[in-house]
Amino acid sequence: MRLDVIIRVSIKVLLPFILMFGLYVQFHGDYGPGGGFQAGVVAAATVILYAIIFGLAPTKRIIPPLMVEIMIPLGVLIFAGVGVVGLLVGESYLNYSVLAHDQIHGQEWGIFLVEAGVFVTVAGTMVAIFYAFTGRGRS
């Protein structure tokens, strides 16, 4: 693994841009193509690429498996929780209009939170599956 200098250096240059593109897709989903699912997949691909080049152990130090496993249900909870807020105020489930003072801002907040939930679950699941497969040695 010491000799592949070109791969290491070029990946080190590329990784921040890939992660940045993932976050751009996440937060720009209102205006351009994309959203939580695509952004989560791109972010997970960044982590997996890092693990391929620099090994599994350093990756697990940056992103511990426990955190990834918490992320999987956390995203669904964020999504479902946004719906419950609507119920508490007396509106229907997943009605975002109650989240702010007027409808447009409520929708904006609702879509933002919901996409964040999708992002968290998708990224968590992808990385968790990757960890589960690569964590097993050859039996």
Binding site: G34, V41, V42, I48, H105, V118, G124, A132, R138
Partner: protein, 179 residues
Amino acid sequence: MVLLTLMAAVVIGIVRVRNLFSVVVLGGIYSFLMATVMLVLDAVDVAMTEAAVGAGVSTVLMLSVLYLTKTEEHVPQHTPIVPLFVAIVTGAVLVYGTIDKPAFGIADTPMHNHVGARYLEQSIPETGVPNVVTSVLASYRGFDTLGETTVIFTAGIGVLLLMKRRSRKVDRSSDEEQG
């Protein structure tokens, strides 16, 4: 058309090659071609997903599975006539099904006459989101997206349950062997 021909060539390659490593790489190439087709069809978000999941993550997962198993496929023992027959009949039924579909790009299909027009007109006044795909996915069809997220959640939990339990069992048995 060029893309579809290339895809057909890749599929023939996948069927012919016995080395599973090459099959995985060819699968990645197929996914990239599929992503390009989606790009041509103006579905950029689908293309992004296909390139990241189909060509990226699933190829890596397949390779890590190959690391755990053998990389050569066995020579099949049965004749391929029955599977070939089933595949041809299924394909013929699908082609027969497409005959009744409206022509590509026509304006008065049921898809455009139902709720689609309302979404296109009301998305900006009702949600303030210029990208209609996002407003439909996250707001108008929020329940569907919640269901999709739950599906991903369930899949992740299922894989973790299967893989984690077995690896822990292996650890325990190796501990017993050592002790």
